[in-house]
């Protein structure tokens, strides 16, 4: 899966979690840009992404997930490492 595929799948995760098919993400998207992205939904995003991509974020990595780009890069790195 290349970074673009990861962005595409991650967009679907966001659309499912927020039940909003109009969500469009860019690497710089942050919680401020998405309605409803609060701390509770953040946990839901983390867990939904883990389930969708079949990965696990470590406790230490949770603090670095502020932007969609950070999400996507970390996911891509984990997928590449496990490939």
């Amino acid at each position: 899966m290349n970074e673009q595929d990861v962005m595409g799948t991650l967009t679907q995760v966001f659309r499912d979690v927020f039940d909003d098919d109009d969500i469009v993400l860019s690497p710089s998207t942050t919680a401020q840009d998405v309605e409803g992205w609060d701390s509770q939904e953040h946990v839901n995003l983390v867990v939904a992404a883990e389930m969708r991509f079949g990965i696990r974020f470590r406790t230490a990595e949770l603090e670095s997930l502020h932007t969609v780009g950070e999400f996507a890069r970390l996911i891509h790195a984990k997928l590449a490492a496990s490939a």
Binding site: D16, D19, V43, N44, V46, V47, A48, M51, T59, L62
Partner: protein
């Protein structure tokens, strides 16, 4: 991916169905769609979307049709906000329109001991005290004595009871106490349990004490500590990463399961638990098809893994019956064949435990309606268990009120599946419950008896039965020998013979050796009975001794024996016999035929012609034979 709601049916595309439902106008219509989609297997994301679909409908003033409104407050020591959608959606599946209230994080004690105007305004009907072991843990040294531990537990439980009493006093709410999920890793290994002050032993003792006082105080349990120990019940529910990230005792992954545990309990409080378990027969209660395989061919009982698994499921069902769950049967079968299956020696579930028994060739939806009407309960009280996915689908579509668990393919998993589905969640267990199963069964027995008195002859006539008797020849020999060697129940003497021995008897012109077939309007039942009567040197030559008489239980209760006696008496008469002498040789398996000969009008034969223990002998004079009533035509081979 954990499959935590495995008893729910799989939707072909639940995501697309939710997307479509969102476009429907009318909040009541969307709520109704959400309630139906809540019945499919769903992860927390799909569950959250169904919750959004239902939101406007649930918040509206009008009571939604088919859903019972209930106000439930969660007073929690851990984060529960992420669990609310799952509780509401599970509520829809359990036929509840739930309003939820959550006290601010960590404020559960203040809400009950102090004042909480918002909670008062909410007026909860159910209060769930959702506590965890991290909250005010029992602080004891590892080498604490039994007495130290007992005192600490008593102090903690006293604190809980104060909260329970306040909750009931102030809100008249039903209190539900969540037991404390063990999250601490072991300190000593298996030795933990032997050290009273170890975290594992402490928590176990505490939960045991909570369970005991809860029943005294009329408090119900959300017994998470027990649930997490069940197979397939969400592997501890939590995840230490989620605890450190957001103080979530329950990971979002397990939110749908937790939601259902809360909702099923709330539904039970509202009187919405199911009352009746309706069971299919073939491949649900036993392996194989009784109509094809016969009573000796179905797989049930000790000796084979699959037979034991079915017996184990029957034992679980029987226990539910004794708990007060009403048991019923809904099977596509010939009624007499299905009923007769319950004489199988390994049958754990007794016919008398079943309150309503419907076996016919009609569609199951119609039969489920009939069962509900007969038991005078609603369709929404029924749980229908059938191994056949097509039957399950039809019933779900035709009767959405009926709960239809998605059974696993392996019968060994049936009991756990039915148990984890939580359809019969209880809030009490009384002497009445224990007696209910019995009283339903007695009513059914009476009803059945009156049916026999009025309808049985008509029923038997309607079967258009024809009995075909063939002298045992080379063609019949293998099947006849097989039946002689495997029939245990309807077998007067249980004499086992080799094929050669049968052939010797059959080829003797003085002998009557008959293979009997029964044909009815449903088709040919095949070889169902064997009779061998022979002269005996200890008897006068004009008397014929019935050496062997056996019958397949498939055709019990159809007066086949009466018709067989007609055939045997004719054949004996043709050989110049004046009397038939019958023997009943008792075995552990053939009590059902102890009264066979007197029922057929034989009289006691006082002097035993053959010296054999455990035997009674019977005599029938052929020229003074009482005519027996039956509804079977004697046919030519």
């Amino acid at each position: 991916l954990p499959d935590t709601l495995h008893w729910l049916a799989e939707h072909a595309d639940l995501s697309a169905a939710i997307r479509d439902a969102k476009t429907v106008t009318g909040e009541a219509e969307r709520l109704a769609l959400a309630a139906s989609l809540a019945g499919y297997r769903r992860d927390f994301t799909l569950t959250g979307r169904i919750d959004k679909l239902a939101a406007a409908g649930l918040e509206s003033e009008r009571a939604p049709p088919g859903l019972h409104p209930l106000r439930l407050a969660l007073l929690s020591s851990h984060t529960v906000d992420h669990l609310l959608p799952s509780i509401r959606v599970a509520g829809l599946y359990r036929r509840l329109a739930l309003s939820l209230y959550v006290t601010p994080y960590g404020m559960y004690r203040q809400a009950l001991l102090g004042s909480d105007p918002a909670l008062e305004a909410f007026a909860p009907q159910v209060i769930v005290l959702a506590l965890d072991a991290h909250d005010s843990p029992l602080q004891l040294p590892l080498d604490a004595t039994e007495d130290n531990v007992a005192a600490a537990i008593e102090k903690y439980v006293d604190g809980l009871r104060t909260l329970w009493h306040r909750a009931r006093e102030r809100y008249s709410a039903q209190v539900v106490q969540q037991t404390l999920v063990p999250t601490a890793p072991s300190v000593f290994g298996g030795f933990d349990g032997l050290v009273p002050g170890s975290p594992t032993a402490l928590l176990e003792r505490l939960n045991t004490r909570i369970r005991s006082v809860a029943r005294q105080d009329g408090v119900l349990l959300l017994d998470l500590a027990w649930h997490v120990a069940q197979p397939g019940q969400g592997d501890g529910l939590g995840d230490p990463v989620r605890w450190h990230q957001a103080k979530q005792l329950v990971s979002p992954i397990f939110a749908p399961l937790y939601g259902d545990l809360v909702a099923r309990l709330a539904a039970a409080v509202a009187g919405l638990s199911r009352k009746c378990l309706v069971l299919d027969l073939d491949n649900t209660l036993w392996g194989g098809v009784i109509g094809d395989d016969g009573i000796d061919g179905i797989r049930l009982g000790q000796g084979h893994p699959i037979g034991e698994a079915f017996a184990s499921f029957q034992a679980y069902v029987s226990l539910l019956g004794r708990r007060g769950v009403v048991l019923a049967v809904c099977s596509k079968n010939d009624d007499a064949v299905a009923q007769a299956a319950f004489s199988h020696p390994e049958m754990v579930l007794k016919r008398s435990e079943i309150a309503a028994f419907v076996a016919n060739w009609n569609d199951k939806a119609g039969n489920l309606r009939q069962i509900a009407a007969q038991l005078n309960i609603g369709l929404d009280s029924l749980v229908f268990v059938d191994d056949n996915p097509a039957e399950r689908d039809i019933v779900r579509r035709e009767l959405p009120e009926v709960a239809v668990p998605e059974l696993p393919e392996d019968v060994a998993l049936y009991p756990a599946c039915l148990a984890s589905a939580g359809y019969f969640e209880a809030v009490s267990f009384t002497a009445d419950d224990a007696a209910r199963g019995r009283s339903y069964a007695q009513n059914e027995a009476r009803r059945a008896e009156s049916n026999i008195a009025t309808d049985m002859p008509a029923y038997l006539r309607s079967l258009n039965m024809r009995l075909v008797a063939t002298p045992v020849g080379s063609q019949e020999l293998p099947r006849v020998t097989q039946l002689i060697n495997k029939t245990n129940q309807f077998n007067l003497t249980t004499r086992r013979y080799t094929e050669a021995q049968v052939q010797n008897l059959a080829s003797d012109p003085a002998c009557v050796a008959l293979a009997l077939r029964l044909i009815d309007k449903y088709g040919d039942n095949g070889l169902i009975s064997v009779v061998i009567a022979r002269p005996d040197p200890r008897l006068p030559p004009e008397e014929l001794f019935i050496d062997t008489w056996l019958m397949s239980c498939r055709v019990l209760g159809r007066q086949v024996e009466e018709a067989v006696l007609d055939v045997v008496a004719d054949a004996a008469g043709q050989r110049g016999a004046r009397a038939l002498i019958g023997q009943y040789r008792s075995t552990p398996r053939n009590a059902m035929v102890a009264e066979h000969y007197p029922r057929l009008g034989f009289s006691t034969h006082s002097t035993a012609p053959v010296a054999e223990p455990d035997s009674t002998f019977w005599r029938c004079e052929l020229n003074a034979r009482p005519s027996l009533q039956h509804h079977i035509e004697i046919g030519q081979p």
